[in-house]
């Protein structure tokens, strides 16, 4: 029942011990739980470089030209967190159509943060996933989450 700001301050310390990046059978790499996490608990912040939205297209083109996978997360109309070159373990969290986590943009002391929360109780050793909620597009990207509720396409 701690206020959000206090929980967030603790998160920086606790997330290093509660989650880690390991090999994922489905996706190659993924974020995994190192201890049991309760439903609704803050798991990790999706941290990275905060950039203005207008810079995303240029960055995406640059990363694509170098064959670098893009890890970006929209905060709001004006800002995006780009974790491609600077970030934390959260950038490795994979998509699932039947996820065990969800993301929320939370404003704490005047700054917005993307925080991953547990949708349900997650047991130690489980891979953490959330629904990327890509916008609908004509060019489809197949989904490989392998869940029974799989929507077949990411977008």
């Amino acid at each position: 029942n701690l206020p959000m700001a206090m929980k967030f301050r603790q998160l920086k310390l606790t997330s290093k011990y509660s989650v880690g990046v390991y090999r994922s059978l489905i996706h190659g790499r993924g974020l995994f739980c190192l201890r049991d996490i309760e439903a609704g608990e803050m798991v990790i912040e999706y941290a990275g470089e905060v950039i203005r939205s207008i810079l995303t297209d240029k960055r995406e083109k640059y990363y694509n030209s170098k064959g670098i996978g893009c890890y970006m997360f929209r905060v709001d109309d004006n800002f995006v967190v780009d974790a491609t070159m600077k970030g934390n373990a959260a950038r490795f969290i994979n998509h699932s159509c039947d996820p065990n986590c969800y993301s929320r943009v939370v404003e704490i002391l005047g700054h917005k943060h993307i925080i991953i929360f547990a949708l349900r109780r997650i047991l130690s050793g489980e891979e953490l996933t959330y629904d990327y909620k890509f916008p609908f597009e004509e060019d489809k990207i197949p989904c490989t989450c392998g869940s029974r509720k799989c929507r077949k396409f990411l977008n």
Binding site: R52, S53, I54, N78
Partner: protein, 117 residues
């Protein structure tokens, strides 16, 4: 009266109470005036009141579709004159024009449009 527009600007820019001065910070963004022109010859001036170390301006003429979250001269909808090195910009391409300008300078911008459209 031509003033800096309150609703035709990047929201992070600070407009003075008399709407004749603007202060920016961090990355480039744009504010436009309340009035536009479509034909004939027009001219406006601005004075640089303060230009701290590391800051710069790009001023000029821009169309409606110019991106306000970028400097003027970023796209095909604007033409600007930069304080640093006096470079002009259009479509993000810089060309040498004059020496640079700075605090205390007054810059003038003239546009010559056809009289009939």
């Amino acid at each position: 009266t031509v003033l800096l527009a309150l609703h035709d600007r990047a929201s992070q820019l600070k407009i003075s109470e008399d709407r004749l001065a603007v202060t920016g910070e961090k990355g480039y963004s744009t504010v436009r005036a309340t009035h536009s022109v479509t034909k004939g010859t027009w001219y406006w001036e601005a004075t640089i009141e303060e230009m701290p170390e590391g800051s710069a301006t790009r001023m000029g003429w821009g169309q409606d579709y110019a991106n306000l979250q970028a400097p003027l001269g970023y796209d095909k909808f604007g033409y600007s004159w930069r304080s640093k090195k006096g470079t002009t910009f259009h479509e993000s391409v810089g060309k040498h024009y004059s020496p640079g300008y700075s605090e205390g300078d007054t810059l003038g911008f003239m546009i010559v449009l056809p009289q009939n459209n």
